[in-house]
């Protein structure tokens, strides 16, 4: 329905503009018509001139390296071995991503990390946003404090938690080890606990961001609908489930997509706290890719890792868009 009205207005607009140009042309003002056309052309050229620098820049500095990365990923290309000679190997680098157990672990870890972190951040963020919904100075001050974790340098966040979790003097780590919860070497050195702990650090850092986005969404909700719902005797839970949540859906989508994209690219926190270890327990695609590419200079394989990361992010974003569209349709039907 929506589409059809859109198409018909476009048609009407086109018809009008066609009428307008013919009428101008028929009322013999040939020079003026020419001047008008020239103005439209000039305007188009002006806009193109404004956009070209950014487009050229991004194509040169982002797209060209990306294309090179795709090209390199089909080669056995190592700067430290064989004098940096390239041998075409087809899809072998991509196959290695699955056959190499470290790479496979990194891929799985990245997905686990992304889903667990984003799910927790969403749940906690929504609770925080609902708590902060009421207008007032108190809530504004709380909000300001919540900005702090988001703005702290991620490297520093990693270092803080590394210190807090240290078993011999850390604020948390000492007691966790003392009371036998974490084992004598601490959570970050345990193969089973390291990944959950790293996820929790990410949750600590980014939950406020999700809360901020959701809060902005909550504040832009139309107040009269909420009042009408409570006047009709809807309980708080009903209001939330039937009114707030469906209206908040676009914002939820925004927050989730933003976080999924960033969580999938996680590097700093993991690199600083565990460096991907112990063993491969917290290795992620980014950490592994950086190690392969810029420490072992295994360019071909690292490029394949990067390309797979791009592909995964694209698929995740597409999946989210589809899901949200379906949810949107369902919300409109009811």
């Amino acid at each position: 329905m929506k589409k059809r009205t859109g198409a018909s207005t476009v048609l009407i607009q086109r018809g009008c503009s066609a009428l307008a140009t013919t009428s101008v042309g028929s009322i013999d003002f040939p020079q003026r018509k020419a001047a008008r056309l020239r103005f439209q052309d000039r305007r188009r050229l002006f806009l193109i001139a404004l956009a070209v620098p950014a487009v050229v820049y991004v194509v040169l500095i982002a797209l060209w390296p990306l294309a090179q990365g795709i090209w390199y990923s089909f080669f056995d290309y190592n700067l430290l071995r064989g004098g940096g000679r390239r041998t075409f190997v087809g899809l072998a680098n991509y196959a290695e991503l699955w056959t190499d157990s470290t790479a496979r672990r990194a891929l799985i870890n990245t997905f686990v990390f992304t889903f667990a972190a984003v799910a927790l951040e969403f749940v906690f963020g929504l609770c925080l946003a609902l708590l902060l919904w009421r207008e007032g100075r108190f809530n504004r001050i709380c909000l300001a404090f919540l900005l702090i974790p988001v703005t702290i340098t991620p490297v520093v966040v990693g270092l803080i938690f590394r210190a807090l979790l240290a078993v011999d003097y850390g604020f948390f780590g000492y007691y966790l080890a003392e009371w036998g919860i974490s084992g004598p070497r601490g959570f970050l050195a345990s193969t089973s606990a390291a990944l959950p702990v790293v996820i929790l650090i990410d949750v600590w850092e980014w939950t406020p961001l999700v809360a901020l986005i959701l809060l902005a969404g909550l504040k832009s909700l139309p107040g009269d609908i909420l009042e009408a719902a409570s006047a009709d005797g809807a309980t708080a839970l009903q209001r939330f489930r039937l009114v707030v949540l469906p209206l908040l859906l676009p914002t939820v989508f925004l927050a989730l997509v933003l976080r999924v994209m960033d969580a999938f690219r996680v590097f700093d926190i993991i690199f600083v706290t565990t460096g991907g270890g112990p063993g491969d327990a917290t290795n992620s695609l980014m950490v592994y890719g950086v190690k392969q590419g810029l420490q072992f200079f295994n360019i071909g394989f690292a490029s394949a890792i990067g390309n797979v990361a791009i592909l995964c992010i694209a698929v995740l974003c597409a999946a989210f868009t589809l899901l949200i569209r379906r949810a949107d349709v369902r919300a409109n039907e009811t």
């Binding site: 982002a62 060209w64 986005i213």
Partner: protein
């Protein structure tokens, strides 16, 4: 009415408790910087300490703090200025263009923003090595500007699109030049958007760690890299690290606190 005040009281207590728990890591970082070295490593951890500025004196002996700060500032400002210069006009052009392809180009910029840096960093590293820019501030500015300029373009695209065209059209019929319509009519009305974009660019490049770690050398490295690189050497304690972390976090945190409003604006407009 009474139920309402009680509900507010419950809400506020919950918030205070959450915030208090939440701030422990931050407080730890701040307090560590003022602890004498012996007390940081006391086991079990001690909660009281005699404050000292020893750690701050120490970092000036151990690091060239001003050089590190300068690197961080040059790289983040360079990235921000370049991104705004490229991104703001592009955002305007895409918002005002009647072409069908404008939206495609806008989505192209959005897609560039989502690319994981690892995919471009390795070829970019080789490229910089070949043209001799490896180890310079330029290398970091150049690569960070791609993501940031894409971000600014998309953000300004949504700001300009929300702006009615009438004023510009009126200015144009009154004989204003095309550049004037952009620079003197449209641009002043989107200043909040420009501030929000700049804020995010500065924050992103100031906190960035991965690109400068590989693209700068010991003379050009920023604070974020120095923080980790210095870690593990003998002279560095958590105290000195905490003191150094002050320099890398305080400017950004303060900026975000004061420009709070723009920060939230940027969040909600940035990826719509």
């Amino acid at each position: 009415m009474k139920a309402r005040t009680r509900q507010i009281a419950i809400e506020r207590t919950t918030l205070v408790v959450i915030l208090a728990l939440y701030m422990i890591p931050v407080l730890w970082l701040v307090s560590t910087a003022y602890k004498p070295p012996r007390e940081i490593f006391s086991s079990p951890p001690s909660f009281t300490f005699s404050p000292t500025l020893f750690n701050f004196e120490r970092i000036f002996q151990l690091f060239d703090v001003w050089q590190l700060l300068k690197s961080s500032i040059v790289m983040s400002l360079g990235t921000t200025v370049l991104s705004l210069l490229l991104g703001v006009p592009a955002g305007y052009a895409l918002a005002r263009s009647k072409s069908r392809y404008a939206i495609v180009v806008a989505y192209f910029f959005l897609a560039i923003r989502t690319v994981p840096i690892i995919a471009t960093l390795i070829p970019f590293y080789l490229m910089m090595r070949d043209i001799g820019l490896l180890g310079t501030w330029w290398a970091v500015i150049l690569i960070n500007t791609t993501l940031n300029c894409a971000f600014v373009t998309w953000m300004m695209f949504s700001y300009f699109r929300a702006l009615p065209r009438d004023m510009e059209e009126a200015a144009l019929t009154d004989g204003c030049t095309l550049w004037g319509a952009f620079y003197r009519v449209a641009l002043p009305t989107v200043v909040p958007g420009i501030i929000a974009s700049a804020l995010f660019c500065i924050m992103f490049s100031w906190n960035d760690f991965l690109t400068p770690m590989f693209l700068t050398n010991s003379d050009t490295k920023p604070l974020s890299v120095a923080l980790l690189a210095s870690f593990g050497t003998k002279d560095i304690t958590w105290g000195t690290l905490g003191a150094l972390a002050h320099f890398s976090t305080v400017p950004i945190v303060l900026m975000a606190l004061f420009l709070n409003r723009y920060f939230v604006q940027g969040l909600t407009k940035g990826v719509h």
